[in-house]
């Protein structure tokens, strides 16, 4: 082909779809998202508020609802910090040092994600239930973990176990250890290095993990359901309270309480977007494969 001919052809190069195809694809994508995400999200609030504010408030002011909210907050207030400390420790060991069996350790940390929520609850019943390994010992000492608050806290820790660690490990691996080594060789102590060098570098990743961890901790249903025993006003979390109300055909109350969780989801998405935006605009060290 002669050169001028090629130039003429170049003008007709199609690197974009036609307007019609573009419009069709956008319509298909948005319809799918509206059908599966938009309508359900709208429906939660519509069902909650459709019969008026007074019924909505009545459902939220019910003492059982309050004790469910309280228990959910307690479980998250223990599970999130516990997994935060673990996540930082695990990421420090894995990202800043070379040792054998590291990849096995990373796989093991991800394990709880591969376990069905129901199975997560079951394994704690097998350990601490009346017929479990520690069941007789617990009964002797008049301790109750299963069908009680400690069991709920334990399974919540289990299901949210990997969230913070798996955010931090790749982030800290990508950052490497040069800055920490520089700080130490200039005479900083271990804790000084950690607080003044590492924490400022990982703060957005840390926050990101905490947000996701908290959302799951407050919303977990299957695992908590197995160990809770469903005692109203005692061992019900918000999701379990929603289930009870729904099964009693008290739909307005069920969706009113559910709307709290839907609000939590929206706040989570908003916080997540803000953190992503901040991390990006700071040019903050998102993993960029330096060490790979």
């Amino acid at each position: 082909m002669s050169l001028p001919q090629q130039l003429i052809n170049n003008r007709k190069i199609t690197t974009h779809e036609s307007k019609v195809v573009t419009l069709v694809l956008i319509t298909v994508a948005l319809s799918y998202l509206v059908l599966f995400l938009g309508i359900p999200l709208f429906a939660v609030f519509y069902e909650a508020l459709g019969k008026g504010w007074s019924l909505y408030w009545a459902a939220l002011q019910d003492p059982d609802a309050w004790s469910a909210i309280e228990l959910t907050l307690i479980a998250a207030a223990i599970a999130v910090p516990a997994n935060l400390v673990f996540g930082v420790a695990a990421a420090w060991a894995i990202a800043k040092f070379e040792f054998r069996g590291k990849s096995v350790l990373i796989t093991l940390i991800d394990l709880p994600f591969a376990v069905s929520p129901v199975v997560s609850g079951l394994i704690y019943v097998l350990l601490f239930g009346a017929q479990g390994w520690f069941g007789p010992w617990l009964q002797e000492h008049d301790l109750k973990l299963i069908f009680a608050v400690p069991g709920i806290v334990l399974v919540t820790i289990f299901v949210t176990f990997p969230f913070i660690a798996r955010e931090l490990i790749p982030l800290m691996q990508a950052q490497g250890k040069d800055e920490e080594e520089a700080a130490v060789s200039l005479g900083a102590s271990g804790w000084q290095t950690f607080w003044r060098v590492t924490v400022p570098n990982i703060k957005w990743g840390l926050l990101y993990g905490v947000i996701l961890c908290n959302a799951r901790a407050m919303g977990e249903f299957g695992a908590v359901s197995v160990v809770s025993g469903h005692i109203r006003g005692m061992t019900n979390t918000i999701p379990l309270h929603v289930e009870i109300l729904y099964n009693e055909y008290n739909f307005v109350a069920a969706f009113s309480v559910a709307s709290l969780l839907a609000l939590l989801a929206l706040v989570t998405l908003l916080a997540k977007s803000i953190v992503e935006f901040k991390a990006k605009s700071n040019g903050d060290r998102l993993p960029h494969g330096e060490t790979e």
């Binding site: 994508a29 359900p40 999200l41 429906a43 070379e98 929520p117 997540k272």
Partner: protein, 276 residues
């Protein structure tokens, strides 16, 4: 020990790794090991009896078929969503992009009751189907709907970054050599996003296998028809059949492990392709 860890000037290795291993053992490894020990009390023949029980097999079949259908739906439409979010601009795009993660953030019980209400024969969406004698809620179709919701973000989020990385020059080169837009997609773009698409499919599938909260409200939970394996575990627990429940749990755990390995393999494969 000298071989175990490379020398480093940084402090805190023993403390950090020690705490990590202790916490991992107490919270995850020891509790999970109880599955194996409890199942062992059944003996091999007892385990086999539970594993080949008609109702157990039926529940596993329901779980697998519905998970596969939902993951397939999400692979097709998730690819379209990822394409639209990466390649086109339209008003409200950032909002739509953030909303894709809703299934990760919305508690499963809330999704369950909402979808059950929407797809019931008299529900907003269900009544259009009821007119044509199609029931969605309280049938296996309801399970597919719930799992489609749960798995929606996976394909979008795995394909999105890979699609954004496809270099415009390659597409231009193909086009200037005379390829039509469809050819470019089929021969140039699709091969580079294919591993990510498969990874997203596998992640959605794996998540669906263990799902419980969003399904039980919409499924109808009829044994042999719309009863999923996790629900059968709960049913056995309520009858104090701990060994039976544990045997099913062990089967599910083994399946999940196999999937986890497959996903790691897929990710390794797609990373290798990216480097080349």
């Amino acid at each position: 020990m000298a071989q175990f860890k490379a020398h480093s000037v940084l402090p805190g290795f023993n403390l950090a790794l020690g705490f990590t291993l202790l916490y991992l053992s107490l919270i995850v490894l020891i509790p999970l090991s109880s599955l194996f020990f409890k199942t062992a009390t059944l003996g091999w023949s007892g385990f086999w009896e539970v594993a080949t029980d008609e109702r157990v097999l039926a529940s596993l079949r329901v779980t697998f078929v519905a998970s596969f259908a939902a993951a397939t739906l999400n692979a097709i439409f998730g690819l379209v969503v990822a394409w639209v979010l990466v390649r086109y601009s339209f008003p409200g795009k950032r909002l739509v992009d953030a909303l894709v993660d809703l299934p990760f953030a919305l508690p499963t019980a809330v999704a369950g009751i909402t979808l059950a209400m929407l797809y019931a024969p008299n529900g907003w969406i269900g009544h259009y189907f009821a007119e044509h004698d199609i029931k969605i809620a309280y049938t296996p179709l309801g399970i597919v709907v719930a799992l489609t919701f749960i798995g929606l973000p996976f394909v979008v989020r795995t394909v999105q970054p890979v699609l954004a990385d496809v270099e415009a020059e390659v597409e231009e080169a193909a086009a200037s050599l005379g390829a039509s837009r469809w050819d470019v997609f089929r021969r140039v773009i699709f091969p580079s996003i294919y591993p990510a698409l498969l990874t997203g499919f596998a992640l959605a599938f794996a998540r669906s296998i263990g799902e419980y909260g969003s399904i039980i409200f919409i499924a109808g939970n009829m044994p042999f028809i719309s009863e999923i394996a996790p629900l059968l575990i709960v049913a056995k627990l309520e009858q104090y059949d701990y060994a039976g429940a544990t045997a099913i749990a062990l089967i599910m755990l083994i399946i999940s492990f196999a999937l986890l390995l497959a996903i790691n393999g897929l990710q390794w494969w797609s990373n290798r392709r990216e480097i080349r």
